[in-house]
């Protein structure tokens, strides 16, 4: 047995148990599976830290015949991120997704869908096989669409429908690239692909796969499905959808451009990717400023925050991979992934608590809630610090690393985009903060327990601690990284 197998099998078994058992026992089984998977994740982290990359050759069949899995520092860090967010969401969902709150239907469906989503995320984070990644992505997409539709209202259904169309188109484009890759190279394994001679069709394969994955990651201009979908779902589902789901397709883009086909990445294509990212940062932020509802602000902020991730490609990709600044830029982008996941989950769970307390998330109805729910307001503020990239948060570490690398690479304009993005984030987060911390309050909120308020606070606190203690995760994520540079922070 091996920790890697445990983080894949435990959420699957938990989901199956949650389907088969009667409602109350099903929830208990899901919570047990959550606790066990968190424990298995810690086990995996220790194994990777002590012994390096953890690999599994499934069924004992070596690629190209079989499928290989590997948890490198990056994959293990992403698995840890999903464990942290899932753990928090599961605790919050015990109340927020209880049958007397959301009805028997959503209370039944949430738990197996959450665990299937978790299994799919972990499967994608460690898979080394392009087609296996496709199946994992499909599982992820179907579970995610179902979690949007779980809200049940007309707008949620329309959002789920739009999400579904983007997801379907995206997965077929990705699959088209996978087909070309196998047809040209006779293997689907990322490591074997990297070792093969380039084929003329590789550029097209890479372009198709990337286009499909960008649609699934909701990168500008394919972002239109994201805000209504993420804002329309119940808060615990929104936390998963916004914090975790886009990171899976992003990780595959990363593996394609940095590991499977690094020599096929032309500079123009890398600049185009970063250009889309810059567009996302600016457009998402401007849209977030124009929203009147807290969940919509937080959802548009996801569009903007995902944009930063693409800025890594021209700085650390292609010929830049061998440069001394590549490790900083690459690891900075990963810090952005991790800290955004924690902060965004905290924000959506806070929004869910406000909804439970006052029955609305319109900014006007949230006036003065910091007085009655100080823990939640504090959690929201900490998460905002991370999204704005202020020290000492994980978001600051991310932007610091990426900006210094951008200057070192002579690509100062991307640093400018990051600085502008930070200012815009401050602008769109100022409005909800000003409202929450207003002196007077309009609506007397229903009481929310301290235990429920503690969950987003812990998640937001973790996103800050990621910046305070940034050296160990930095070192950890270099484990098994191709072209790993020696220089540290």
């Amino acid at each position: 047995m091996n920790a890697l197998v445990a983080v894949l099998a435990l959420p699957l078994l938990g989901a199956l148990a949650a389907v088969a058992l009667p409602p109350r026992a099903g929830v208990r089984a899901a919570l047990l599976a959550t606790a066990l998977t968190v424990a298995a994740t810690i086990w995996l982290l220790l194994a990777v830290a002590r012994r390096g990359v953890q690999g599994v050759i499934l069924g004992g069949w070596e690629p190209p015949l079989g499928i290989g899995l590997a948890a490198d520092g990056l994959g293990a860090a992403f698995i840890a991120m999903s464990a942290a967010v899932m753990g928090g969401v599961a605790l919050a969902a015990r109340q927020m997704m209880a049958p007397d709150v959301v009805g028997a239907r959503a209370a039944f469906g949430f738990w197996p869908l959450m665990l299937l989503l978790w299994a799919a995320l972990n499967a994608v984070f460690v898979s080394r096989d392009l087609f296996n990644l496709y199946v994992g992505l499909e599982l992820l997409s179907l579970a995610a669409v179902a979690l949007v539709a779980i809200g049940g209202k007309e707008a949620a259904l329309a959002a789920a429908m739009r999400y579904m169309i983007f997801a379907l188109a995206g997965s077929l484009l990705y699959l088209a690239g996978v087909v070309l890759a196998y047809a040209a190279h006779g293997t689907l394994d990322i490591g074997l692909l990297a070792a093969r001679d380039a084929a003329p069709s590789d550029g097209l394969a890479l372009a198709l796969m990337t286009a499909g994955l960008l649609a699934k990651t909701a990168i500008f201009p394919f972002h239109v499905w994201l805000p209504p979908a993420h804002a329309g779902a119940p808060a615990p589902a929104s936390a998963l959808l916004s914090g975790l789901v886009p990171k899976a397709s992003f990780l595959i883009i990363l593996r394609l451009w940095f590991e499977a086909m690094p020599d096929r990445a032309g500079f123009a294509a890398l600049m185009l990717l970063a250009g889309l990212g810059a567009g996302a940062v600016i457009w998402g932020s401007l849209q977030a400023m124009a929203q009147a509802r807290l969940k919509m602000i937080v959802a548009y902020s996801t569009v903007a925050q995902l944009g930063y991730l693409l800025l890594v490609f021209p700085i650390a990709g292609g010929d830049g991979a061998a440069q001394p600044w590549a490790a900083g830029a690459w690891t900075g982008a990963m810090f952005q992934v991790l800290s955004h996941a924690l902060a965004k989950a905290a924000m959506f769970l806070s929004a869910g608590l406000y909804l439970a307390a006052v029955g609305s998330d319109r900014l006007g109805d949230l006036r003065g809630l910091a007085r009655t729910m100080p823990m939640t307001a504090f959690a929201f503020a900490l998460a905002a610090v991370t999204l704005m990239g202020l020290p000492p948060s994980g978001g600051f570490t991310a932007k610091y690393l990426m900006m210094t690398a951008a200057f070192a690479a002579g690509q100062w304009y991307w640093a400018l985009v990051m600085a502008l993005g930070g200012l815009l984030a401050a602008a769109y987060l100022y409005r909800p903060m000003a409202v929450l911390f207003a002196r007077e309050s309009l609506i007397a909120p229903r009481p929310v327990t301290r235990a429920a308020q503690a969950v987003p606070l812990v998640l937001a606190g973790a996103s800050i601690l990621l910046g305070v203690f940034s050296a160990p995760p930095f070192e950890f994520m270099q484990i098994g990284r191709p072209d790993a540079a020696e220089e540290g922070l």
Binding site: P22, G109, L116, G136, E138, A149
Partner: protein
């Protein structure tokens, strides 16, 4: 001669596909799509891929067609089955043409790679089954197949989440009113035993010849659906626990067998050669049961009381 046959078949496939996309009328588009699926299945026979032909005919054309027809019926009852005019023509046409041209270009520049031929030939004696496609599906790439069976389950849970709160405790699908003594009723009495035999045979034969859990499960699902339509059995309610066990038993046996392999033979999903064949058959039987139940429930759809909204 055979090239002329292929050309004619492909021309027919393209013509029917064009009628599906560009023709008017939603119902006709769906019927064209089903015809299209059957023609593609013939194409797979021409390509020598019998297992794919079976899957395409049973799942791609058959079940997908039934799903689309059932949805069309529901939409018509809601008054929303009228075809809407096509939108932005030129840009979409350009995008489609560019994609087709890019793939066509790729075909002519694709190198002929080394494929896992030698590895495959060396591995087949240890695979436990003689049909190489089944060996890939249930042994070499078992993780894909395990995840795929979970995808099916996720789709069903997702579909159930679309139920209205007040229908949640109802029976799956629309209320059935089959007329006693009608064609369907007598058909429904004859077909299930025959279909049951075909389904079981497809699973059994899949090990060494053609077929498999998905093809067999599809036939069994069809048997159940015909029996339900004929009024022989009533669709269950979502709360029926025994059916939930049927839904998850296949993936559960698969995961547990994989874990047993990890403990006994060292790696997840390992099937040691001496017991590989019985292990694969056990997994296939459990999977077939789950696939049949899941597919049948997917076609039945979420519970609806059938009242107008």
């Amino acid at each position: 001669m055979s090239l002329a046959l292929d050309l004619a078949l492909c021309a027919l496939i393209l013509g029917v596909a064009l009628a599906t996309v560009a023709g008017s009328g939603l119902f006709r588009a769906i019927v064209f799509f089903i015809v299209y699926g059957l023609l593609v299945a013939v194409g797979w026979v021409r390509l020598g891929a019998i297992d794919v032909a079976l899957a395409e005919a049973a799942i791609g054309a058959g079940l997908t067609g039934v799903l689309l027809l059932a949805a069309h019926g529901r939409l018509r009852r809601l008054g929303t089955a009228r075809d809407a005019s096509h939108g932005a023509h030129l840009l979409s046409a350009l995008a489609g043409a560019a994609l087709a041209a890019a793939l066509a270009w790729a075909w002519f520049v694709l190198p002929l790679p080394e494929r896992p031929g030698p590895e495959l030939a060396a591995a087949m004696p240890r695979a436990g089954v003689e049909n190489p496609v089944t060996a890939v599906l249930l042994n070499f790439r078992a993780w894909d197949t395990l995840l795929e069976s979970i995808v099916l389950l996720a789709a069903l849970i997702g579909l159930w989440m679309l139920t209205r709160e007040r229908d949640w405790s109802g029976r799956l699908g629309l209320p059935q009113h089959s007329r006693a003594g009608g064609v369907l009723a007598s058909f429904g009495r004859v077909l299930p035993p025959v279909g049951l035999l075909i389904g079981v045979w497809l699973v059994w034969a899949g090990a060494d010849r053609h077929g498999g859990a998905f093809q067999g499960g599809t036939v069994l699902a069809a048997v159940g659906l015909v029996a339900a339509m004929a009024g022989l059995v009533r669709p269950p309610r979502i709360g029926a626990r025994l059916w939930h066990v049927a839904l998850m038993i296949g993936p559960a046996v698969f995961v547990l067998a994989g874990l047993a392999g990890a403990i006994l033979a060292g790696e997840f999903l390992t099937l040691p050669p001496p017991i590989a064949k019985p292990a694969i058959l056990t997994i296939e039987i459990a999977l077939t049961a789950s696939i049949a139940a899941t597919l049948a429930f997917l076609v039945l759809g979420p519970p609806e009381e059938g009242r107008a909204p």
